[in-house]
Subunit: 373 residues, 2 copies
């Protein structure tokens, strides 16, 4: 393994010069630099990450904390993998790497995460799909180490979070429904301790109100983001005498559940009732009819997270903690969403046609006609 000394000897210069040349520092002549780079390539020199990290006191790596047991706990992050891709790309552009902290799912000592982060001298940590109330997690973001989370409103000395624009997504969804002609829309929301669920519900209610659409207590049902709860809520909706003509569901998996419930009740989607989801999970494009949904942009989410994290570390890097910059970096990031139309929404049926509904019944997966603008 060729070290910096070998390289220095090879070029007839000192190790200091080699270091400066390779790190792009200015006090080295262009000719010397060229020679050094040339020689480095020739002898296959590779700088030791450990040595560099040791002396500089940081590793240029960020940690990723995510808990594999999380999904079982009744919450979800439907596309962690894609978000991860976004994180990885953004980091790659900055020549940084990502260290997965094994959350030692069992037997996790309270300082497990923090210890790992400090031992590796991480620049900061990104948290996703984790129970933010775990002591081990708390210890981490109470430590002053920069942290950014997905969909988790964590607080700490150097901490912020990123999330999709859930409120905007909800208002776009009900505007869309309203444009289609719907006036009676229900929603299925998520657990009350889920930030996205709350924001989506708030957006829904505000817009329904602003548009003067009908509102009743039975029109908001609660689920847990999983299929079964969507099915159950769908059954409750189906049994209503004043059934809504559209339903905005806070998560795609639940939305698929309500579609099943409606199918089992003999209610055709989208002819009899429209359903619109949230997230755009893979299955949304696989089911029939295709699920119209508010799509999150996982790549952008990942990029926003690293941007937020870097802002956090930059803000505290100078010796004097720039209080203003810290405040600024602490602001949550919110990334835009996008409506993707598939087959699960349509204009409501005219009353006379709905009345005649109990006649013949056709195939439940009709090709849906293109919707007008």
């Amino acid at each position: 393994m060729a070290g910096i000394r070998d390289l220095a000897r090879e070029c007839g210069v000192s190790v200091a010069t080699v270091s400066r040349a390779l790190n792009g520092q200015p006090q080295v002549s262009v000719e010397t630099r060229r020679q050094i780079q040339e020689a480095a390539r020739r002898i296959g020199y590779r700088p030791s990450h450990s040595a560099r990290a040791l002396v500089r006191g940081r590793s240029d790596a960020v940690g990723l904390l995510w808990d594999s047991g999380y999904e079982a706990s009744g919450r979800r992050h439907p596309f962690l993998m894609s978000v991860l891709v976004g994180v990885k790309r953004a980091l790659g552009d900055l020549d940084r790497h990502l260290l997965l902290l094994n959350a030692a799912d069992h037997n996790a000592e309270d300082n497990a995460f923090l210890n790992a982060a400090l031992e590796h001298q991480l620049d900061g940590v990104i948290l996703m799909g984790i129970d933010e109330r775990r002591p081990a997690a708390r210890a981490l973001y109470d430590s002053g180490l920069p942290c950014v989370a997905f969909d988790l409103p964590i607080t700490g000395r150097h901490t912020t979070y990123v999330t999709s624009d859930n409120a905007a997504g909800a208002v776009e969804a009900v505007h869309y429904l309203h444009r289609l002609g719907h006036r009676r829309a229900a929603t299925i929301t998520g657990p009350a301790d889920s930030l996205p669920a709350l924001q989506r519900l708030a957006g829904f209610q505000a817009t329904v109100h602003a548009l003067g659409m009908e509102t009743r207590p039975e029109y908001v049902q609660t689920g847990d983001f999983f299929l079964g709860s969507g099915y159950a809520a769908g059954c409750r909706l189906a049994a209503l005498t004043d059934r809504p003509t559209a339903v905005f569901v806070a998560g795609d998996e639940m939305a698929i559940g309500v579609m099943h419930a409606f199918a089992d009740a003999g209610i055709d989607v989208p002819r009899d009732v429209s359903v619109i989801g949230f997230d755009d999970i893979e299955a949304a494009s696989l089911v029939r009819p295709g699920l119209t949904t508010i799509a999150q942009d996982p790549i952008a989410l990942g990029a926003a997270a690293v941007e937020a994290l870097l802002a956090l570390v930059d803000a505290e890097s100078p010796a004097d903690p720039d209080e203003l910059a810290v405040q600024d970096a602490r602001l949550p990031r919110t990334v835009p969403i996008r409506l993707v139309e598939r087959g699960s929404c349509a204009p409501p049926r005219p009353a006379w046609e709905a009345a005649a509904r109990e006649g013949g019944r056709r195939r439940s997966s009709p090709d849906i006609e293109r919707l007008p603008g």
Copy 2:
């Protein structure tokens, strides 16, 4: 930041003793060890990973290489995330960490991966969802650094791969179909350069032959693991005069595609034809009817990968390269699969009923009756 010297001073011993005590080496008295551990906790001592890695020459970390642009290239790894969980857990049990190498999707210099791996002194690298023909990947597993891949039959000096028991899965699938009473089964396979596709096809053909089931050229169709290709293949199958009564599809997404094709052709699944998939992706349990499929075990796959990787590094760790152990560690790992029954398979219809099929048509998602053992 407390260093090992502070700890030594605190305890009135030398740094050498502290190091030995903390690393569990035997030549330190139990009393001294206890005191040192106590003091370490008290002053919050955390060993520097960089320093340790620097002097020991290795980092106790393994790299993970996966290419986010891969899916666009016509191949898939349907549950990378879950496999990742498996890898992470297995690693966590060994107090190792996982470093995600940013594959610098663009502008990737030919040695990008290898450089990153060497600079970080990784124990080895796990590859998944990557185009194994990329020069940058080749350089990696030609380098002698231990590598293990998923579903990629890569070869190199210290290299192996893990994969699900695709052949066994295929034979189980057709046995299952055969038990149900099917005698005319088709298959939809994947690209010819995909290892799992090849193995699944081979298992299918061998079993069909062994069981004396009908075989015709049109009964094997080729797809690319994506929905559209499954739909197309399903249409071709539906148009056959001697249509098969069951189809074994080499991937769940394609399987969903053929279900759509059949639905559009007025063919009911599972009444008119059974379809069985492979992989058990999330959507398999979300569609209707639920997709009966051969499930891979992603957690076990991940665990098998780290086990294989560690065998590889152990085999070459002694000064003398134990040629036998290396040979042994190079053997591919194969992890068992499991049949999961959902609603897409049923006994074939008796001929007389099939003949009368063109009569009334009912809802396409009937609740399926439980199958006899």
